[in-house]
């Protein structure tokens, strides 16, 4: 976009005037651009936590190690729930764009339930790690990096669930209509971000790290 304008400016500099190009975005894109910037900053934040996790993989001086305590079934179920929720939130967004408010509320409720299911899985996993295996943030480097990375991801899911629940409550009170579609769309972007971050976390922590 900026390159395109620079080129056109260079062209006009040589005497080929091309009228008056309008601004690159309309004001209705304001929320979208803002959310895109925020998502970039969030990606930089999580990248740092992931770099720290990878840096300390296998550097532990004492156990337990990831292979000894991380269990597949629960996390795979949670991953399926979270990945599915990216689809349901997308369908909720499409329904809102078409003005089908009851379908919007159904898909939104499904998204919230899938998000809560994922958080319940994380809670169960943490209980297992802390109570059964005695792994805390202070036990070793694995505990330190695991609880920080997965904890911050879970915090972001929690914030997402709260926002989506607010939207559902407002929608139930008939406060949400087609004209709020852009607002909901950027919330769905946030949800997709949380989902994408999880896929990286899953790969690093449960596939490579294990």
């Amino acid at each position: 976009m900026s390159e395109a304008h620079l080129t056109s400016a260079a062209a006009t500099g040589h005497g080929h005037h091309r009228g008056f190009p309008a601004a690159d975005f309309n004001e209705e894109h304001r929320v979208q651009v803002g959310m895109a910037c925020f998502i970039c900053s969030e990606a930089a934040f999580f990248s740092t936590l992931i770099v720290a996790y990878i840096t300390y993989l296998g550097k532990d001086t004492i156990g337990p190690t990831p292979a000894e305590v991380l269990r597949w079934p629960l996390v795979i179920a949670g991953t399926i729930a979270l990945v599915s929720s990216s689809f349901t939130v997308h369908w909720a967004n499409s329904a809102l764009r078409q003005g089908d408010l009851s379908a919007f509320r159904r898909w939104l409720a499904a998204t919230i339930l899938l998000g809560i299911a994922f958080l319940a899985g994380t809670a169960a996993e943490w209980r297992d790690l802390i109570v059964e295996h005695g792994l805390t943030i202070g036990t070793n480097l694995f505990g330190t990096t695991y609880f920080t990375l997965v904890g911050f991801h879970a915090l972001h899911v929690t914030v997402g669930v709260i926002v989506l629940t607010l939207m559902l409550a407002l929608s139930a009170k008939r406060f949400v209509s087609q004209q709020h579609q852009v607002g909901f769309e950027v919330v769905s972007w946030y949800w997709h971000l949380v989902d994408s971050v999880w896929l990286v976390v899953f790969t690093v922590v449960y596939v490579i790290g294990r």
């Binding site: 976009m1 900026s2 304008h5 620079l6 056109s8 400016a9 260079a10 006009t12 500099g13 005037h17 008056f20 190009p21 309008a22 601004a23 690159d24 975005f25 309309n26 004001e27 894109h29 304001r30 651009v33 803002g34 910037c37 925020f38 970039c40 900053s41 969030e42 930089a44 934040f45 990248s47 740092t48 936590l49 720290a52 840096t55 300390y56 550097k59 532990d60 001086t61 943030i137 202070g138 070793n140 480097l141 505990g143 330190t144 990096t145 609880f147 920080t148």
Partner: protein, 547 residues
């Protein structure tokens, strides 16, 4: 006469009635002024700390403040000047000017804007409250682990440092989001990205840099906080953690931060130099493109702060090469500014005076920077006063000289009054002399082997005379800033009325009244060239016929 605006008479009620409206304001101009005033207060405090540091180093074996207080002073001086003075001052000017320059009524997210300011004000205050709680942060503005781990820093001073910077850092990230969005979305009709003033270009890239560089710092600060508060082991070497990871993460933020403070300064210079040379900027496209190149390279040079920690030779070579490379786009900008001045009808009024001061001082800082980018020289002088001299030439000689140019240039827009030229000249010449007298001898003291951060030295080292020169220079600097503050105060009360466009400038902020009405523009202007106000003033010979 305002070209684009016809506001009602400016009747301002007494201060007591206006105070609540300042506390709750969402107007970008008021928030900008709040940023500027708050950062001036922090500047006075940070400058006072520097004076005490210099007083302590006046004679060998001095025990004026002692080692503990000295550590607190240099930590707070660095932290204050970087986070609570230079950055917020630039955001203040950015906040005030960007909507005016791009022909908008406000920033993209006014509430987020107010939130950012209050986070900065609260974060800065929180850091200073540590003085009341037993001791200020004493670990350096870089807070190297493991010194900052609980084992070596048992009081709460480090926690104040982390929390204060995290709070203001969240506000700064929000500012970055706001800046980028405002510049991408809110421009007036016809104002393409190839037509925005260069200050706007550089503030936009500043926002991009912040969006990618600041969150890693926030993450690292959280890691340190978890280490200290919950017994985590990120930077705990005895449990396998790495002190080097802190350095990597800190400088991954800390190096771009140098450019985050420098780019808006470049933007200010790119606005001031053309107006006072009566010429369009030479090579607009190359100045803008160099901004992008500087931004990209600056993200890849952080480890040049770490040549002495023992990385591999290959890494040293890569980071050294990247650091050399950054001199190329910076040199392009210097060339463009000088080419703009060359052959111009130069008016040596106060903003131009400071802009030229910037060019000379920043050049010296850039040259010593190239010296430091050479690994063998860095090994020799790293953590000596040579480095202290170098970065003060870059940050003080660069950013702060440019910011001073901004004060003299835009004060009339903000207040409707001119700053006194006579006081400005006192300020400039005292500042230039004091600055060089303070920081040039530091290079020599450093080459003679004087390390950074020492609270005293013995008389047989041969450093005494250089330290005394620096201390005298610091006093001169302090006097020069008294002229500046006095000028601000006096001119704000009863300065000469400036009119709307005292410098005969060409960008849109001068098309409204001084100070602008709450809504900025009664009618949003239509932009057809890079100098929209020139077009309005000279309908017989508008720029767009030639572009």
């Amino acid at each position: 006469m305002a070209v684009l605006d016809h506001p009602a008479e400016n009747v301002s009620p007494p201060v007591a009635q206006r105070a609540p409206s300042w506390a709750t304001t969402l107007d970008h101009k008021q928030i900008g002024i709040l940023y500027i005033i708050t950062s001036l207060i922090f500047m006075a405090v940070g400058g006072l700390e520097a004076l005490i540091i210099r007083a302590q180093l006046w004679v060998p074996d001095s025990h004026l403040v002692g080692p503990d207080m000295f550590n607190q002073l240099f930590t707070m001086h660095g932290t204050t000047m970087v986070f609570f003075v230079v950055m917020p001052m630039l955001f203040g000017f950015g906040n005030y000017l960007i909507p005016l320059m791009i022909g908008a009524r406000d920033m993209a997210f006014p509430r987020l804007n107010a939130f950012s300011y209050w986070m900065f004000a609260f974060g800065g205050t929180l850091t200073y409250l540590s003085f009341l709680a037993g001791g200020a942060p004493n670990v350096g503005w870089f807070a190297y682990a493991p010194l900052t781990e609980y084992a070596f820093s048992r009081d709460h001073s480090t926690d104040y440092w982390i929390l204060g910077l995290m709070v203001s850092g969240i506000g700064t990230t929000a500012t970055a989001v706001n800046l980028v969005t405002t510049i991408l979305v809110m421009r007036a009709p016809g104002m393409s990205l190839a037509r925005v003033p260069l200050f706007v270009w550089m503030m936009m890239f500043d926002g991009v840099l912040l969006i990618f560089a600041l969150p890693p710092f926030t993450a690292a600060a959280i890691m340190l906080l978890l280490d200290r508060g919950l017994g985590a082991h990120f930077f705990d070497t005895q449990a396998g953690g790495s002190a080097l990871l802190w350095q990597h993460l800190f400088w991954f933020f800390g190096h771009p931060e140098v450019y985050i403070m420098a780019l808006p300064a470049f933007g200010i210079i790119s606005e001031v130099v053309p107006v006072f040379s009566r010429k369009v900027i030479f090579g607009y496209e190359s100045v803008a493109a160099a901004t992008v190149v500087i931004g990209v390279i600056s993200m890849g040079v952080w480890a040049h702060h770490m040549f002495t920690v023992g990385m591999s030779d290959a890494l040293d070579a890569i980071f050294s090469g990247a650091s050399f490379l950054i001199a190329v786009p910076t040199g392009i900008k210097m060339f463009n500014w000088i080419a703009t001045i060359y052959g111009g009808k130069i008016r040596m009024q106060s903003p131009m005076l400071f802009a030229v001061g910037f060019l000379a001082m920043f050049l010296i800082g850039g040259l010593t920077g190239i010296m430091l980018a050479a690994v063998p020289i860095d090994w020799q002088v790293s953590d000596s006063y040579f480095v202290v001299g170098h970065f003060h030439y870059v940050l003080f000689g660069g950013s702060l000289f440019a910011i001073m140019a901004a004060y003299y240039f835009w004060f009339p827009k903000m207040t409707g009054r001119l700053l006194s030229e006579r006081l400005a000249r006192w300020h400039f010449w005292l500042m230039l002399a004091g600055f060089n007298l303070t920081f040039f001898p530091m290079h020599i003291a450093g080459l003679l082997g004087m390390p950074r951060r020492i609270y005293t030295y013995s008389a047989d080292r041969g450093w005494t005379i250089w330290n005394q020169l620096s201390t005298v220079g610091a006093m001169l600097l302090a006097v020069s800033f008294l002229f500046f503050f006095w000028n601000l105060f006096v001119s704000w009360r009863r300065g000469e009325s400036s009119g709307d466009d005292p410098w005969d400038a060409w960008t849109l902020e001068w098309a409204t009244t001084s100070p602008p009405a709450h809504y900025n523009f009664e009618e949003i202007p239509i932009v057809r060239s890079r100098r929209p106000l020139w077009d309005l003033k000279h309908p017989e010979d508008p720029d767009w016929e030639h572009e």
